[in-house]
């Protein structure tokens, strides 16, 4: 085993092993747990950095384990997987810091952090999956490891939310599995290949392939919260804030979106998918989700629920970018994978801070909160503007490429979807900002905790501020070498190479 095979495995193990150890730590071993968590997150980030460099310089990282007759478990680093791996690894670090601050003095922390690490393992494994089988494996693993986090609080509400979460995700997983097996019996391979591996199939199989595509998208769409499979996401918001932040805003929904990207590009191949006529319905579905999610967000008073519906809407940008079919739209969709993650995690961090520090859960309670917590709300403001797509924030870059790509592909109607979505985003974010900054604060907050001179615990605030800064940086310095945008261009060159 040399470095090039070991590295993908190490990246997966760097959160798996600490996660397993953490389960066996006693509640009181706080220092050990924090050290382990932070060390793991940093090591993972370092390994990902090395791999990023390697992939850019043409190194080939791959490890295979025989799993089934004719099918291996494959972990492979290609540019697309690196995009997602880097996102998860860096946001994991931020969220770990945040979670340490957030869960101070709450019960069952070992269990929480254990499953948290396992979730990241599943996400990273899913990103590195080199074939559909490996993907399915980690996809299911993600379902299993997130469930304990959703029901972490152990209330009846949490149990019901967990139930709903499972009904959706396990059902989706089942469809995915069925489609995968079917695909395997038709194609004889499941290996992700740039520009797909199905175009060589006999035309007799095309109807079957269309059904498979629908099944795959339905299975993945559950996690990506495409309508009508989005119902679990707002419910799952009963989970603790770091879970909502990392998992529901980033890991889980992104896993679905990432899967759709994989299916469209590396299983079907974008040209082949377009020739099957399945990309346009997908684009329409994504557009409907974008609009519907925004509309629902508009009428939520619960902050986390509003953010959840916003996620429903925003994640479909990725799908839209993929489905519009064209190199530029692809850039927009893929880069939104990163940008939406960074922005949404900022928003969720802030929502969690508000809930922890002031006991605020509803938007109607947020009057004047900007005066009490200027840093938090500044971060929130940046995140919200990013979501609206205001320049020069990260969301603008995604929207720009999506719009340009749609024009480029001759799908002008997408522009109107984008415009309507921006309008709606503004309509549900700006009132929050208005309340927070310009309304007079109430005499007392619902449930205030004092942190001395600071507005809140630094472990909560720092990650939020850092991700907010990233939101700005990713947009402003979009053309910097190694920026997500540049990386996505690098990916797109491969997927669309003549």
């Amino acid at each position: 085993m040399n470095w090039e095979t070991a590295l993908p495995l190490l990246i997966v193990l760097s959160s798996l092993i600490p996660g397993l150890i953490i389960f066996f730590l006693a509640e009181k071993q706080v220092v050990a747990r924090i050290t382990l968590n932070m060390a793991a997150a940093l090591i993972k980030l370092a390994l990902v950095g090395v791999m990023l460099w390697g992939v850019f310089h043409g190194h080939h990282y791959e490890i295979r384990l025989p799993f089934l007759p004719g099918l291996d478990l494959v972990l492979r680093a290609d540019p697309l997987s690196m995009l997602f791996v880097t996102l998860s690894a860096s946001l994991w670090l931020a969220t770990t810091v945040y979670a340490i601050g957030y869960l101070e003095d709450s019960p069952n922390r070992s269990r929480f952090f254990g499953f948290f690490s396992l979730c990241v393992t599943a996400t990273v494994g899913l990103a590195l999956a080199g074939n559909l089988l490996t993907f399915v494996l980690f996809y299911e693993l993600l379902t299993l490891t997130t469930y304990p986090l959703v029901v972490h609080r152990g209330t009846e509400v949490a149990r019901l939310a967990g139930r709903k979460y499972l009904i959706y995700t396990v059902g989706g997983g089942a469809l995915l599995l069925l489609a995968t097996v079917w695909l395997y019996t038709l194609a004889g391979t499941l290996e992700f290949t740039a520009r797909g591996f199905l175009s060589g199939l006999d035309a007799v199989h095309y109807p079957a392939l269309i059904i498979i595509f629908v099944l795959l998208i339905a299975g993945l769409g559950v996690k990506a919260a495409l309508i009508p499979f989005h119902g679990w996401l707002p419910q799952a918001m009963v989970a603790p804030a770091p879970v909502s932040a990392l998992l529901h805003a980033v890991a889980v929904v992104k896993a679905g979106a990432f899967g759709i990207v994989r299916v469209v590009y590396d299983v079907f191949g974008i040209e082949f998918a377009a020739s099957l006529g399945v990309t346009l319905p997908l684009a329409i579905l994504a557009s409907a989700t974008i609009i519907y999610g925004s509309l629902r967000a508009l009428f939520q008073d619960d902050l986390k629920r509003r953010l959840a519906f916003s996620t429903v809407s925003q994640v479909s940008y990725i799908v839209l970018g993929v489905a519009v079919a064209g190199p530029i739209a692809t850039i927009g969709g893929l880069v939104h994978l990163v940008h939406q993650g960074v922005q949404k995690i900022t928003l969720f961090f802030c929502a969690g801070i508000l809930a922890e520090t002031l006991g605020i859960h509803k938007i109607s309670e947020m009057n004047g909160v900007g005066r009490r917590m200027p840093w938090t709300m500044a971060a929130f403001t940046i995140g919200a503007f990013g979501m609206i797509g205001a320049p020069p924030l990260a969301g603008f870059i995604s929207k720009w490429y999506l719009g340009l790509g749609a024009l480029d592909a001759g799908q002008n109607w997408v522009i109107f979807i984008l415009a309507a979505s921006s309008l709606l985003n503004a309509a549900y974010f700006l009132p929050i900002l208005y309340r927070a900054w310009f309304k007079a604060p109430p005499a007392s907050w619902p449930d205030e905790r004092s942190f001395g001179k600071r507005e809140t615990a630094w472990a909560l605030l720092a990650p939020a501020v850092i991700t907010a800064a990233l939101t700005l940086g990713l947009g402003l310095l979009a053309s910097m070498p190694y920026s997500p945008l540049e990386w996505v261009r690098f990916i797109t060159e491969q997927e669309y190479a003549p």
């Binding site: 799993f67 007759p69 019960p107 494996l137 299993l144 304990p148 009904i167 089942a174 069925l178 079917w182």
Partner: protein, 482 residues
Amino acid sequence: MTGDIVGIPWIVVLIVLPLTGGMACFLFPTISKSLGLIFALAIFTAVVGLGWQLVEQGAQRYAIGGWGASLGIDLYADGLSLLMLVTAALVGLGVSVYSGAYFSREKAKHFWPLWLLLWAALNALFLSADIFNLYVTLELLGLAAVALIALADGADALNSAMRYLLVSLLGSLFYLLGVALLYHSFGSLDIAILAQRMEPTPAVWSAVGLMSAGLLLKTALFPMHFWLPAAHACAPAPVSALLSALVVKASFYILLRLWLEVFALTDTSLGQLLGLLGATAVLWGGIQALRQTRLKLLIAYSTVAQLGYLFLAFPLGTNIAWKGACYMLLSHAIAKAAMFMAAGNILRFCGHDRIADLDRIAQRLPLTLTAFALAGVSIMGLPPSGGFIGKWLLLEASMSAGQWWWAVILILGGLLAAAYFFRVIGYAFTRAGLTHEVGVVPARMEWAALVLALAAILLGFISPAALELMGIGTPFGGERAG
């Protein structure tokens, strides 16, 4: 050295060892716990030895006492037997470790001899080369199993033991009648010889019907599962584990063996009928499991559903399908044993097994719940687990055979399984209305369940090797394309 190991007639050792162990435990009841454990380890080693032998030398045939066919007793071991032996050895070892802490001294005195006798019957059954020996071992197995169920006190347990006994005897008699007809038609009891002489006559048809019916009754295939839930739910936890994991599989093994080698009826409507019954079992068992309010009954119904999976291979009849069913069998055995053990822990901890009142077991009994959850993963067929491999192979087989409806059943069964397991897990995280007195669960019991559950997961990673071992002596016919 290698030659020495390969040279030992492990086949015989495998039958003699548990028998001797049973005797020893019966004679020295005071040290039966340690004796039992030692013998369990020895049997496990012997299975490994046999496996080695099979890998080195291929399928084995051994005539006891050199008497040879017709009156003598022949033993035969190939990949399929090895699979079953390994299943029995793994589960048996787990159960032995678990039972060492589970039973009181009084009960242990009865448990160990019976359990080793059961193990002997199992091993002999898996190694028998003729259909009459299969009958004898089947009866032995049934009697030992009934006695084990009766170990649990209470009217319910005795009732279900009695019911099980009658059913078991009935099934065996049907089988025996079939044996008589087969012998009459072909003048031999040896499976290999029967396979050569096989031809479809009305008597053979009636034998097939009788034997299959008897075995299906003992395997508790829908709609003949009526005896199973009560028996499996009332028995003591390790016994439940044995029954669900091994005893029902024994009769399935006989059916499989006959079907593969003697009957060769895959393409007939009988295969489709079995598949249909299996599919119904999957759905019906799943729905009933979902409707249970008690944990052990839920697990018992889950067994009904899981047994249905095994029969989905019959209408397909391809190499992959058989292998899938066998993998399913193996992983279900291990996972279900772990699950019953976990349920036993919960029962001991809470004093009840009402699902709605589990009250934060996740916090208070984390190892056990982990075991339960991991076993559940395998039962649901989620990756990576043995159950997933089995399900995948079956799915692949049904999709390649163009019989996609079986694939749908498999998927639906998985969903139902997920529904009923997560129902339990969900309650295990939440606070219940009433708290209850807390019993002590020895660490050994928790770890035994956990290790078995981990083994079920681990099965997901060793499938290439396992499938190759299973194929020794090509019990499933050649590799067919598709």
